[in-house]
Symmetry: C2
């Protein structure tokens, strides 16, 4: 190697080092900002979480939208509230900068799941409480917030604290922190209809295509992997099949008719049991055939994700695992079968005349939802059931040995269909590298997020490369009781999101 | 045969004929009375049915007891209201007559099952309505009762209309009808704690043994066989096992954890399905072994009961029968297994972390309830479940592959245990012949009533021969919605009950 080659290599290295050093300094600024403003960040977030946001409640969601728009305007975003036919508004804001190399659209949802108040440790899931740690770890209620320092281990408990208001707060505070150093054009779209589904997203994509167009779509949703900030390149969609089995027109006294009238609860149990083997594998014909075997590249990516199953089993009290897959990550790349609810029987010591199961399937890009629903329905028919789509009358019940009412819903592009972006796509590589610049090898790359995120409508309309980024703690209890956000995740999330705007 | 033998035989025959004729004339008087007083009988009964009587509601039941005591006093019975420790009163009345050959204690209960109002065709199950026939047969609401003739086909719809206020009304009106021709001492005991169970019955048996002593106990409860007035010589008791299976400390998002966290609904379905084969036969070891094979005499009595299964299947919309027995009657002489309720899962698209089944067994005299409950629990254990009796904590859940909380309740003598009286016992023969005197071959003799009636405490205390008599229509919907009494059954019931007091 000549001296000049060495010198030029050295110069290049120095330039890279100085770029990295400059980036690190920018990230440090975000961290410093977060540390200096913990009190006001938490105060603003508590205010946001105190607004009930149960999906479908248009009036409550309007109040959220109004506050969110005000929060965005405060950060200098050009902000608009978009009405939809359901009455639930969408919120949009953008902040362009000169010389930007790309426009990034961040998608976040601000509606939340219903609450079963009596299962929460606090009186009201919409009166947020702060604890010094997770409830299971003995976290105590903090009653005086005025002098609190809000360390990383503290948590805020409230519906939507993790899913999905956390990235909204982190995103806006990240903009505060980076100020004029923002390098990419930023668009933020806040969906008010994610949890319940609705036509609003399709409507606004049709009405405001130029506003929503971007070079990269970043979905901010879902808890991160236990081992660190998480980027994902795809997500599952789903389909559901509700099945009600009948054995008589109404419940009959189990003393007078036991051993004569069949038990609808037993029949439903037998039907469900016939769908799943003792290990948890679904035995409905074709259930896994669209997906398996995995490609070598897919398998490598799945296997590279750190497996914290043992710790999670202890944390969640999971004494044995479902046997449908060899690992959590493999499982997320397969279709999944759950009976979300099962219910039969009534008051008064009678034999159940009907019993219902809500079967939910989480499906990957390779599945066709309608086909998967049909596979379940065909299987029910193969167990001897006469299938109807309305409540059967007495004559119909009497004329078939087994009757089941079946309704199904297949998630399509407009309601959370599965999607997948090639991890080697340049925009996907940009996003991956941005996160790696902050977190290095801690970044967890996920081929398929287990849950649904409504990226498909954007992908269908704009063919835009899409990734997802998760910042919430893995144990945020999203969709269930005692949902929470760990403050460290909220503050770290600011740096994570800032990285995407600072390249 | 000599002439004198012939003459004496003729004389005996004439005497029998004249006795029979006298009896028939007495029964006719009851029928004539019933026909002449339909309006006031129904009016009194509607008043009784308008008092809510859900078991456990002491205040409501006190109001029933007050009205019932007044109704009994009006008939000249020496009447007492007996308080119990639960606050639910018992009502007792007696009417002795000179020269009586026996004292009969009639047991009836006046409490009823809870109501699921929205499942009823009428706004309030405690605002009785009158229809011109059964709902399914197109019976129409009768709005003007003032000029109604109340034919047999009409029905009264209300909670407890069939179970078990009907025999109270029929009994008291039978006393009105027979007046001074009453031949047996009559005691009437009205239980306010039958449906919910309680200690009241045991308390009053201990406190008032002389009042409750009798030569024959007649339980008035249950619907009659479709083919006619019914006498039964035994009844089933029961035991219950509630089982909750757990798969985690709480529900987890089915997208994020599907294929990893086991589904409690699926696990419960598999557990229940493992207990019952595809025909409906219970495969829990020993389930039928206490009972089978039947004795020749028992089998003959079971087979002699008319089988109206086909009609009942059409009426109730039962497309296929439970395969645990060859006939309804055989089934009632076997232990029966029902899952009264099955429930798992919650709002919000999460995998169910626990699911519960209430298993109810109806047991015959030959079963020991506690042993039967243990057989079920042992079976659950044999499926790999670690059995606990309290809600498990996270550590316990994490340390066992499968955890189930199991609680059981075995009905004992004081709470509805099984019983059986020899049909050849003289008092049982007396009761059978009394009914036959009115109804001839229409009387249906049942070895074992399917449901529970609390005869055991009396049998244990007094070793009294016991039979049961049913007067309500078989399709009275007892314990469920749209409970009703067919007026013909109420009026015919008066003659049936009168026959027991006129021998």
């Amino acid at each position: 190697m000549t001296s000049s080659r060495i010198l030029s290599l050295l110069a290049l290295t120095c330039s890279m080092v100085s770029t990295l050093a400059a980036q690190q300094s920018e990230f440090d600024k975000v961290r410093t900002y977060a540390n200096a403003h913990r009190h006001e960040i938490v105060a603003e977030y508590l205010k946001l979480l105190s607004l009930p946001n149960i999906h479908g409640d248009a009036k409550a969601l309007q109040a959220n939208a109004d506050l969110l728009a005000a929060m965005m305007k405060k950060r200098g975003l050009d902000t608009e509230i978009w009405p939809t036919s359901s009455g639930v508004p969408m919120v949009f804001g953008e902040k362009r900068v000169p010389g930007a190399k790309r426009t990034i659209l961040f998608y976040i949802h601000y509606d939340g799941q219903p609450v079963d108040v009596k299962r929460w440790a606090q009186p009201d899931p919409f009166v947020p409480v702060v604890r010094t740690d997770g409830i299971e770890a003995g976290g105590e209620l903090v009653t005086d917030l005025s002098s609190a320092t809000f360390p990383d281990a503290w948590r805020i408990y409230a519906r939507a604290a993790g899913d999905d208001k956390a990235p909204i707060e982190a995103m806006l505070c990240a903009l505060d922190a980076i100020g004029s150093t923002q390098k990419e054009n930023v668009k933020i779209f806040l969906d008010g209809e994610e949890e319940g589904g609705g036509k609003g997203l399709a409507e606004v994509i049709q009405k405001y295509p130029e506003k929503l167009r971007s070079d990269l779509l970043v979905i901010l949703d879902g808890p991160q992997h236990p081992s660190g900030p998480t980027i994902y390149y795809g997500a599952r969609g789903g389909a559901s099949v509700n099945v009600t089995v009948y054995t008589a027109k109404q419940g009959m006294h189990s003393g007078n008719y036991g051993n004569w009238m069949p038990d609808a609860n037993v029949r439903l149990a037998q039907l469900i049991a016939s769908m799943v083997d003792s290990t948890g594998k679904v035995v409905i014909p074709g259930f896994y055939s669209d997906v398996l075997p995995f490609s070598t590249e897919a398998k490598a990516m799945i296997d590279a994700v750190p497996d914290q199953s043992a710790q999670m089993q202890r944390d969640f009290g999971v004494g044995s695992l479902d046997g449908a897959a060899h690992s959590l990550q493999e499982g997320l790349n397969l279709p999944a079968f759950s009976v979300h609810t099962m219910k039969g029987g009534e008051v008064g010591g009678v034999i159940a005349a009907n019993a219902t199961a809500e079967i939910a399937m989480r499906l990957v890009k390779e599945n066709r939802p309608q086909v998967m629903a049909e596979r379940v329905i065909d299987f029910i028919r193969a167990q001897g059931y006469y299938i109807v789509d309305k409540d059967p009358d007495v004559a119909m019940l009497a004329s078939h040995a087994k009757v089941a009412k079946v309704t199904s819903r297949a998630l399509t592009a407009t309601s959370g269909g599965a999607w997948r972006t090639d991890p080697n796509d340049p925009q996907a590589v940009f996003a991956t590298n941005a996160l790696k610049a902050v977190w290095g090898d801690k970044v967890v790359r996920i081929r398929t997020l287990g849950g649904s995120v409504p990226a498909s409508p954007f992908i269908d309309a704009f063919h835009v490369p899409t990734v997802g980024v998760s910042i919430a703690n893995y144990d945020d209890n999203q969709h269930t009781d005692n949902e929470n956000i760990r403050l460290g995740n909220l503050f770290d999330g600011m740096t994570t999101l800032a990285s995407l705007m600072l390249q």
